[in-house]
Symmetry: C2
Subunit: 220 residues, 2 copies
């Protein structure tokens, strides 16, 4: 879903059809977009802001699967229900499709199907990257990887990649990286002390030693 503009590459007429089908929705910071288990009647594309997708365990432990930014697709599911919850990190805007309307559109424009398939496989690769991070990386490597990932994705959508902006809280980052809030904070301080990054503000990170950070993410 990430790093992909689902609509790009479609013909004008396709977009025309899209336009008839789409409605716009917005969510304020912290607002729910949909919840795990809810009937999955809609699909979304983020147009502005930042969205976190996550699942909760029975006792409240949370794993965030990723953060979505403008251009990212949201809501594909295999069954009748969403397999995860989605919330706005900051005030966000999204395009919304009815699931059946999207299906119909896909029937009419096979190119869309290929595009959705590519997006999904891409999601899978991203998920695998995250499994490596969660299962085998140290706190320092996790944070370095996250910073570089967010930086690259910002650049991909034409935003500045350095400094990296972190609209989400430390607690969000912890639940994304398999760490606690405190560990994220400490690790940031560690990287700062080591001269690898500079913290303009808590959510504005300058990447100073890019090469060292990159080495860190590869496990050398």
């Amino acid at each position: 879903m990430r790093g992909l503009s689902i609509c790009s590459g479609l013909e004008i007429e396709d977009l025309f059809h899209l336009d008839r089908i789409v409605s716009k929705v917005s969510a304020r910071a912290g607002g729910a977009i949909f919840d795990e288990g809810e009937p999955a009647t809609n699909r979304f594309i983020v147009t502005h802001g930042c969205v976190r997708i996550y699942r909760l365990l029975g006792d409240g432990r949370r794993q965030i699967f990723g953060f979505l930014f403008p251009g990212d697709f949201l809501g594909l599911t295999i069954g009748k229900e969403y397999a995860y919850s989605a919330e706005a990190v900051v005030e966000s805007h999204l395009c919304r499709f009815q699931q059946h309307e999207l299906e119909e559109l896909v029937g009419r424009f096979p190119a869309l199907e290929k595009r959705l398939m590519g997006a999904t496989i891409n999601e899978l690769v991203v998920a695998q990257d995250q499994m490596v991070l969660l299962g085998r990386k140290s706190a320092e490597e996790k944070v370095a990887t996250m910073l570089l990932t967010l930086s690259k994705r910002a650049e991909q959508r034409g935003m500045p990649g350095n400094p990296v902006s972190l609209p989400m809280t430390r607690s969000d980052l912890g639940d994304y990286l398999g760490l606690t809030t405190e560990s994220v904070s400490r690790t940031m301080t560690l990287l700062k002390t080591g001269g690898l990054i500079r913290l303009e503000a808590a959510n504005q990170v300058h990447l100073i030693e890019l090469e060292k950070l990159e080495d860190m993410t590869e496990g050398f």
Copy 2:
């Protein structure tokens, strides 16, 4: 890719076409099927045995993304190269397609495209489950979850789900669960001592207290 027989639901004539395209390959225990970074010219379906897919970090740390069993699809990729490596856990047999032949077939039988899409989304959901496990579960919860997952998947393909058979080593399981070999072993002993499981042999696990094990996986 898991839990899915890509061919089921196809018409006889489709299968006929499949038959002309497919070749059979086998790999002995420990043998490579393909490596990360290699040109992704083939797609596979496991027909017999067990396959592990994984990625390595620069210093040799390994994260196993999953184990594939008969019926599971293998080798979908977004770019020109495999994004992970695949090895046989035990002597295994696979059907092999040329990537372009599969593409051609998909062009001819659109039902296949939907099926592949469903399989890929399913893979994504499985990957998300694994992220929850890796990021937020304790060693005991990880092992319990793994046992139940393997049990259910065995049943899905008509094999006995209890006792669970574990063709892979403790080290494989460790790299799958984000633990060390020793921790996997210790945790098994713990579950055994607690009366939740019984170890017939190291790779044959009887699930005794199913309900307690299931509670464990949900985070209560």
